[in-house]
């Protein structure tokens, strides 16, 4: 083999490594186990389509079922009414082929280590992680949900662990949930219809400004806490209020002491005749998280659980679910986000090495530091040809409105992304779900690529994904 051949192999290997690293980090950080439960369909004899616009996304009836604590309220919800052979377990997995194209990956070249950038493209067959859902009722008005979930190497963690007291005092307006659970997002990331690395999450639910050390405001992640929620009998009116540990869902009190957040939602739906039911609502995620950490054994030996010096953050916005007849709907979420200037300056989660700085006594912020703020919106239209075939689109954009450090380019960290795809279910029964899934995602972020003398350091990535999404 000649020198040119060796160079090409090395280049390809480097490129592949970079892409694999990207892919693995995406899978680990962004995989979103979804709740689509043939176990419930089997229990009640309802087809997937009864509760899902297209599984796993809920329709209004499915949302009501969930709000009732996975109960139909037909006096047959308690397990005592089930055949003893029934076991409420569902698994879900997604074998796929995908092609990922990542722009501006640092690569070695004749100029030295990381001396060049280039686009890296790779394709191949792959797997999602495995979700093992089990949930339902322990007794009438006592609900539970467990979700051990793995990444695609089989490493498991608990995505959801919760028990819920339903319809307290006979009122649907009072339900209490304790454990690790999905926040009450009307447009649920756990029920997202798309699967690609960047399109399989809502960017709006995870956005963190460049250089910001706050991981605790990610409303797409399941969180640990207690939630009170309520709804009217027909679910037109809904509210929820949750008190959460500011740990981004990580058990073991790894982060700060006495750091809590709150997540609050309210929404109202309206019957608009042939158009359908329209819902509008609002949410607010407000809280505080640590920036100051004790150390042991040196300045970088951060002690888990020692975080203090809590600083504030907030995410708030509106949600709309608009239906235009039987086939077309549009989901909209807006967000205004703000972090304390301390987070913006790189203080925050040192445990996961997200934040580079420790707010030790006497620390002061650089002059002129400000709270980073941003605004975002996502639009997600669906065309439901039938319960078996749905076309999906999404456009998200997030724009920084104020950078923490004066003089920082105003567009640094801005994100634009769109996703298109469809899911086709060749059959629709009450026993299992199977979807042929096709999707394309494109994402652009300003200023986060290696510049290396280029005019812009923007990154474009794209992914094409084809696969089977099934659960039983």
């Amino acid at each position: 083999m000649n020198a040119m051949g060796l160079l090409r192999i090395r280049k390809f290997a480097n490129s592949l490594s970079a892409v694999l690293l990207c892919a693995i980090s995406l899978v680990i950080t962004c995989s979103q186990p979804a709740n689509a439960l043939p176990a419930f369909a089997r229990k009640y004899g309802l087809r997937c389509s009864a509760c899902h616009e297209s599984w796993p996304m809920l329709n209004y009836f499915g949302q009501k079922f969930k709000d009732n604590g996975y109960q139909l309220m037909n006096d047959r919800d308690a397990p005592i009414w089930q055949n003893p052979g029934y076991w409420p377990v569902t698994f879900r997995m997604t074998p796929i082929w995908h092609r990922v194209s990542t722009g501006k990956v640092l690569v070695d070249s004749t100029g030295g280590v990381d001396s060049a950038v280039q686009r890296v493209e790779t394709s191949g067959f792959d797997l999602s992680g495995l979700d093992l859902h089990t949930g339902g009722t322990l007794e009438k008005n006592f609900s539970f949900f467990l979700l051990p979930s793995s990444d695609n190497t089989g490493a498991f963690h608990f995505e959801t662990v919760m028990a819920r007291l339903d319809n307290l005092f006979g009122s649907p307006y009072l339900n209490i949930k304790l454990g690790k659970f999905e926040l009450d997002n009307l447009l649920s990331e756990k029920r997202i219809l798309t699967l690609t690395g960047n399109g399989g999450i809502y960017q709006l639910y995870h956005f963190i400004p460049v250089g910001d050390g706050n991981i605790f405001g990610q409303m797409g992640d399941n969180q640990l806490g207690v939630e009170v929620m309520g709804h009217s009998n027909n679910d037109r009116t809904r509210y929820s209020a949750a008190i959460l540990s500011s740990v981004d869902g990580t058990p073991g009190l790894t982060y700060g002491s006495n750091a809590y957040s709150g997540f609050f939602t309210g929404s109202q739906a309206f019957d608009t005749g042939k158009l359908g039911v329209q819902r509008i609502g609002a949410y607010a995620f407000v809280g505080e998280a640590p920036t100051s950490w004790l150390t042991s054994g040196g300045p970088t030996g951060y002690l888990p659980g020692s975080g203090i010096g809590n600083k504030n953050f907030s995410r708030e916005g509106f949600v709309g679910q608009f239906y235009f007849g039987q086939h077309l709907d549009l989901q909209v979420v807006t967000q205004h986000g703000s972090d304390s200037a301390w987070f913006g300056q790189g203080y925050g989660d040192v445990i996961d090495a997200v934040a580079p700085n420790n707010n030790t006594p006497g620390t002061t912020l650089p002059p002129g530091s400000r709270n980073p703020t941003w605004n975002g919106v996502l639009f997600e239209p669906h065309y439901v040809y039938s319960p078996q075939l749905i076309f999906i689109g999404r456009y998200e954009t997030i724009r920084m409105s104020q950078q923490s450090t004066p003089g920082t380019p105003s567009t640094l960290g801005n994100i634009s992304t769109y996703t298109i795809g469809y899911r086709y279910n060749p059959f629709m029964t009450s026993r299992a779900g199977f979807a042929w899934h096709n999707e394309y995602n494109w994402l652009h972020q300003d200023g986060t690529g290696p510049s290396l003398g280029l005019n812009t350091a923007n990154i474009n990535t794209s992914e094409l994904l084809i696969g089977f999404d099934f659960d039983f």
């Binding site: 037909n74 047959r76 493209e121 005749g273 076309f391 469809y422 096709n438």
Partner: protein, 296 residues
């Protein structure tokens, strides 16, 4: 090499992207569906809302077909697993016989009756409360349900029965209701304490021969056709067609029917409707009837 791979993968993706939706169309179009859509009288009227059967086809397929079946005959894929009396079989719409009506026994229900049933659901069955639907959706589904049965082409719904204003609850009325309970032999199915354990309870079958349970007043469940006093009154007077529960409109006077409503409330555990009745029963020291006693 990489260019070839890229082209190949893009073409593969594009082809896959387009192929299956086109193939799906054949499966989604059902000739049978078109036949049913074209059936006469496939319209409903709920107040100022007009429902059209053709507009309900998608909703029926999405929500209802698993139990009630493509042909509305109650033989959906799930029906085989619904084992009476715990899980009553799905309704066969082709027969045009419905439990919950405001109309006399043997007649067709009104559109409003079906409309209300869809939202209310049927407790102690697999029929959920579809209260999240819009009124238009429900009206369309009523039309869809109706078009399965030729009865609607040949008959008109009965006139809703008249329900007189509800009188004041008194100890005398509750005692009178207890007498009615004994006289018309409600206890034979429902038991002397309303526990669905009367001497006939174990032998009850519906019109299709499937076992069926009498209503147990003591377990806190909602009656299938509604839980207000008016709903219970209506059940006596219209009966539940297709079940052993007859209409008592020929045996019970309206005043007696109210008495019976008040007495039955005393058998139920505490709920939103029976606080006064239970208080009176407690003050009276009301005991269950004795069917063997000469008079009650």
């Amino acid at each position: 090499m990489q260019t070839t791979l890229r082209k190949w993968s893009l073409w593969l993706g594009a082809a896959a992207f387009l192929a299956l939706p086109l193939a799906s169309r054949a499966q989604l179009a059902s000739d049978q569906l078109k036949v049913w859509e074209a059936a006469p009288g496939s319209v409903s009227h709920i107040g100022n809302i007009t429902g059209h059967a053709k507009d309900a086809a998608a909703d029926y397929r999405r929500y209802c077909v698993g139990c009630h079946g493509e042909l509305g005959d109650g033989n959906g894929e799930v029906a085989q697993w619904l084992l009476p009396p715990t899980w009553p079989k799905p309704r066969n719409f082709q027969l045009g016989i419905f439990k919950c009506r405001s109309t006399p026994s043997g007649t067709l229900p009104t559109d409003e009756d079906l409309f209300d049933t869809i939202a209310r659901g049927m407790d102690r069955s697999a029929m959920p409360q579809w209260s999240t639907f819009t009124k238009q959706q429900r009206a369309d589904l009523v039309a869809w349900v109706k078009h399965f049965s030729p009865r609607w082409a040949n008959e008109k719904p009965g006139d809703p029965i008249k329900i007189p204003p509800e009188p004041e609850v008194t100890p005398e009325r509750i005692k009178a209701g207890r007498d009615v309970f004994a006289r018309v032999q409600c206890w034979k199915c429902h038991g002397v304490q309303g526990m669905a354990n009367g001497p006939s309870a174990a032998t009850l079958t519906d019109d299709l021969g499937a076992p069926i349970a009498a209503f147990n007043f003591t377990e806190g469940a909602r009656p299938k056709c509604g839980d207000t006093d008016q709903d219970i009154y209506r059940i006596f007077m219209t009966g539940l067609d297709g079940t052993p529960m007859p209409s008592f409109s020929d045996n019970i006077k309206p005043d007696e029917a109210w008495d019976l409503v008040f007495y039955l409330r005393t058998l139920q555990p505490h709920n939103a409707f029976n606080m006064k009745e239970r208080q009176i029963a407690k003050q009276l020291g009301l005991k269950p009837i004795n069917p063997n006693a000469p008079t009650q």
